[in-house]
Symmetry: D2
Subunit: 398 residues, 4 copies
């Protein structure tokens, strides 16, 4: 076997997303035939004991405790940023300036302005870049994209998207970093709505204007000393103010005339991970739910009268994007496979020299929608996306 | 058997809703034991041939061709208005002035102002009144109400309600009366969103403020000569402007702090009658879908860990409201039974001398929300319900 | 309107099925245009007080307390038998000999031999006859029949049918007549499996041979003094032996080569009325569940690759059998509508002079399968249907 | 980190199951903390080019082309057999005699007799052994087991299990090895029903007696030169007889009084991988479907009246077996994770010196049920399991 080109990765962070990314790098060549081989070169975290443990557990060749040192290393081609949101910009810009490709978790940054500086940095330094909107890479979503591009739904009229969770409903759940505005920037908005916005941009088109609400139901929570963002134990009797949103609700108009409703919340009991949407077009409709992510429900308005109805398609057949790489039809894949599929796009981009979609351009556009909703929530006005961001050129495959 | 008190009904209109109401009057005493006997005294319509045929078909004792004559009759106790929306106000007010009780289809009127005059008329003339929001009377909805009143969901955080249909997606579908603004007042908004608003008011509480969009996707349609509102044949090559909305989308805040998203549309392919909602409270959640109207999905956040999940309850047991009157558990009822149950409430109100819920007060409050959304759609501002209607006293059972 | 021919009905029995039949007679002409008008002439029961009450409640013109008197009446054209199973044969045969048409509840009789005598009686006396397998008349089932007849499923390979209930799981539930072998003949077998057998005969074809089990899980139950068959209160501390089956499970081969699995039970917790089946053919499959009886799930094996999947069809459109008579698409009907649709077939048969399907021939064929399974359960052998019944000519529309 | 004990694996075969096993060995220590480290020491296959390629792709340290050579190697602790079924016995027995632990694909052998010799060999040679019934290791199944062991369902009355596929419905689909009786032993019976039998033994108990049918719908198929068992291209115009079953249908009684119905088929259009069951007990019921394998539906008969219904539990929470090792609640896992979980049991058994369940004892018991059904299909009699196998001692954890 001829030697393949390698992509030597340096990853900053090692918790939930660090684990998901590590696994995807390990599995990409098991299921697919990437022309570039991902190498788990170095993992980085401030706590040496923990990062060392993560390196062994996840299979990284080495570790660092200072991301600036990581970026300096000659044996790193790409920096993968899986830190809390407040560190994305600084690391990404430094990595770009050091000539490293950058793969960054979503949301791209705390603010639109930060994200724009990140995009400028990667483009100016001519490094490749990608953002992790992994749900695009569910086979059902890629197949939905194909149906839409083939005109099977016709002109789109509606999207209604929800991302419903319930993990912080208990008022005694502590103020973990994902609820700390300084660290996370926002609550359900940047964490959950950002995914729905990305799916809408991918499948429907660009947002034109929005109006919405960010709401915090529980105003104070116990402080927490250490947490991984998803859980934690209250450190004392002290409480702190919750400055991020518990829920984000907004309406949108798209540039192509479609109308969207969006709702992200962490207060929808019984919905552990309700990332769902329905899209209606003049010729058909689709529905998706990440908790049944292998399925796509499809309706065609020109089906024979009498036998019109949503079909439940299990997107696990060879004909469905990525699915042929896994198991026989009906043998489902899960959450982590969206990362493996995404990594394949990353490797293809690296091989061929382009920034795969979704990249920092998409991150900025996503952030613009997030910011427009935030503005709207404050001003109680509709906010035009073109008033928060202008004249941005897509970064697309040449 | 002792003679029961009678309620002699005069109904104006005889199409879709006329049929549903007639059937409900016929069936009420079959399934239940009303203390007042409904009598199908007279049905009224302008086309003598057709109204005569309807009278025979539906079992009415007599017919009229002029509703003013109907109202004059001594042998009529209650006027039931199932005409197109533009006639509701005039008939209802005249009926009230003639001392007749009034049962009116929804939406109550074309405008909030009309609906307020209707409420004034019935209250001033001390006649009883009701509006037909039939979905309240599905056993699953009544059971949901009970769960909420019993505190089983706790404080409500969210409602997301949709009413999705697809019957006018074809651009060649003609301009039937339900698409004619002069006759119907609005499109999906008053026809469909009105139902969701009623369910939200019933289960969540009063609306505080709204912002939203009314949208017309197909701007012109073939003219039609005669239609029953739901179907029709184009009369010629002529087209007319569609002045009603094809879709209505809005966000709401409730006075109790809950947040709602609402979407009504006739352009959601594959959704024949998608009247659905989910409500999330601090202790639990419920879901409902009229196409599976016997089911209520219920989640309790304090269920034992490990076995928390939405339960699918088939509300067909004796313990479920109204359900004991029908068939054994698991033997489902359908659309028309919501009308039968509602008629029972009407008959109880008549017997005991109060205006049952929902009555014209609810119709006015509903219309206020509809109107606020319409204003918002034009001004692109949030509209406070208290700015469109003030100081309205509920009409409740004494 | 010209005078229509009348069908003057005399019904024996007035409980669960009496109610369902009465309602269907009342509603047939409301929804459809039968050429024969059903007249609720007389209802019959031994308890005068109760039968009188039923007559008033259900709208019967008169009542009798002795079915022999009912049969003697000149003003009765058809005898409808909704008594417990042990009375079917005697009444039906007497009615036929008196020249009355006969409509009988299922199962036709306690034994195959009884049912054969019933068929002989109606045929010999040239009266028309029908048996109440109401589920055939759900629009979704009739539509399934059409798809199969049109060859849309191709050759049938499989049917798997269940009828799962749970109403007698409590060991303290008393020995109501449906659990009394002398009255009911069998338990879940004749009550529930009989329905699945009928659907299989209707949709798949004739049974060739069977092997199976009848099982009684709870061997003794409290005695009950009076009951309507579905509920009752224990009359004392006394218990009696349960001689009917709690569950019936069997495998079948059909004459056309299809294979079937059947399971009826009253011990399947959480299944209030789980009458369900799936049929697989060489070109497609269908699924149905009576608790969502408006839906038919359909799969076509020659659908375009990639978009193959079960479609959920809501059989409420004009194109679906009977559905056009009710409400707009997506507005569901329920259990009682299967009776209304069946009554239309009965009225059509009366008008045109043929015994509609399913008639006593079907009742006998059904009973033969029931009896073959009973034999098999005792002998632990496969039983060929042709060994329990031979050379029976179908009674079909001429 | 202290050096862990290693388990050096030699795997025979490299296709569908070889891939699934390889992946599980690679991932076990990523997600869990096994005290024994699995080492992918050598992979074996007759075609050198292909096995070399598989070794590189899957990450094996070396390869062999003769399984006898593999067994001779000193650096191998366990032989993993993923070959077609006809080779299981010879390899397993030789491996045991060489002192290697054995992990074998299901069904254990072509015949009960073979499987018994395999069990004798592993026990006599005191090597550890396991069989790959992976579905036991879905978190939902393990959680179901816990509920049953905790008495939450009470005495079990019913299991109805299906394993429905549709991949060979096309009569032109060729005679791949899975359809070749000499190689596979049976068709859907050993491939699919074996899984249902294992789940039933795991959750319900031991089989007492069975009666059933094995059926071949398509009697001849095109010959194929080379195939991986799941697909292939016809090699010529020649056809061969299909000697394996297309469908397997049987009824069972369990020693604890429960009754089961089982159906496995490859002719159920639209069912890509319909491994499903429902179990009913005196206190509750459960349902599972591998295509939604993260979900368990649970019904408790003693839930509060009015709110009784099946709960849909997404078994992805820390409280659910194995689930805590993966992703946050609601982030689903897939088919391959059942293998990872199973490998953890294998590693635990190796560490602690016992043969984990399911082991060859379970393989033999499973084979006994398969054989009993085959006998029954030929003799058309019920077959008592004790007549095909006697006095077998379980191999359980000491």
């Amino acid at each position: 076997m001829a030697e393949k080109k390698q992509l030597r990765i340096g990853m900053v962070g090692y918790k939930f997303m660090g684990r998901a990314h590590s696994h995807a790098y390990r599995d990409a060549a098991f299921y697919f035939d990437p022309q570039v081989e991902p190498v788990l070169q170095a993992i980085c975290g401030r706590n040496e004991e923990k990062v060392k443990e993560a390196a062994e557990k996840f299979g990284w060749n080495s570790y660092e405790t200072d991301w600036r040192e990581l970026i300096k290393r000659d044996d790193i081609d790409l920096i993968d940023i899986v830190t809390p949101n407040n560190n994305h910009a600084e690391i990404a810009i430094a990595a770009a300036e050091a000539g490293k490709h950058v793969f960054c978790e979503k949301p791209l940054a705390l603010t639109l302005e930060q994200s724009q500086r990140m995009l400028e940095a990667v483009e100016k330094n001519k490094v490749l870049h990608m953002i992790n909107h992994n749900y695009r890479f569910a086979p059902a979503i890629q197949f939905a994209k194909k149906l839409i591009e083939d005109g099977r739904l016709g002109k789109i009229y509606h999207i209604r998207a929800t991302y419903l969770q319930d993990w912080i409903m208990d008022p005694q759940f502590p103020l973990v970093w994902r609820l700390n505005k300084d660290v996370s920037g926002s609550g359900s908005h940047g964490d959950l709505a950002a995914h729905s916005i990305d799916l809408a941009r991918f499948l429907v088109g660009e947002f034109k204007e929005v109006t919405g609400i960010l709401e915090t139901f529980i105003k104070q929570r116990p402080l927490v000393e250490d947490s991984d963002g998803l859980s934690g134990t209250a450190s004392s009797d002290e409480v702190g103010d919750v400055k991020v949103d518990d829920a984000s609700v907004f309406i949108a108009r798209f540039t192509n005339g479609a109308i969207g409703t969006f709702e992200a919340t962490r207060f929808a009991g019984g919905n552990r991970n309700g990332n769902r949407f329905e899209i209606n077009g003049e010729k058909g409709s689709i529905r998706w739910d990440v908790e049944h992510m292998n399925n796509l429900e499809v309706y065609f308005h020109d089906d024979e009268p009498g036998i019109q109805g949503f079909r439940t398609i299990t997107c696990t057949e060879e004909i469905h994007p990525y699915a042929g790489a896994y198991w026989p039809a009906g043998h489902i894949i899960g959450y982590e496979h969206t990362f493996i599929n995404l990594v394949m796009e990353l490797l293809n981009g690296i091989e061929q020299g382009y920034s795969p979609s979704p990249n920092f351009y998409d991150g900025v556009k996503n952030q613009a929608v997030l910011e427009a909703v935030e503005q709207s929530s404050q001003t109680k006005q509709w906010v035009d996306i073109s008033d928060v961001i202008q004249n941005l050129e897509p970064v697309t495959k040449k």
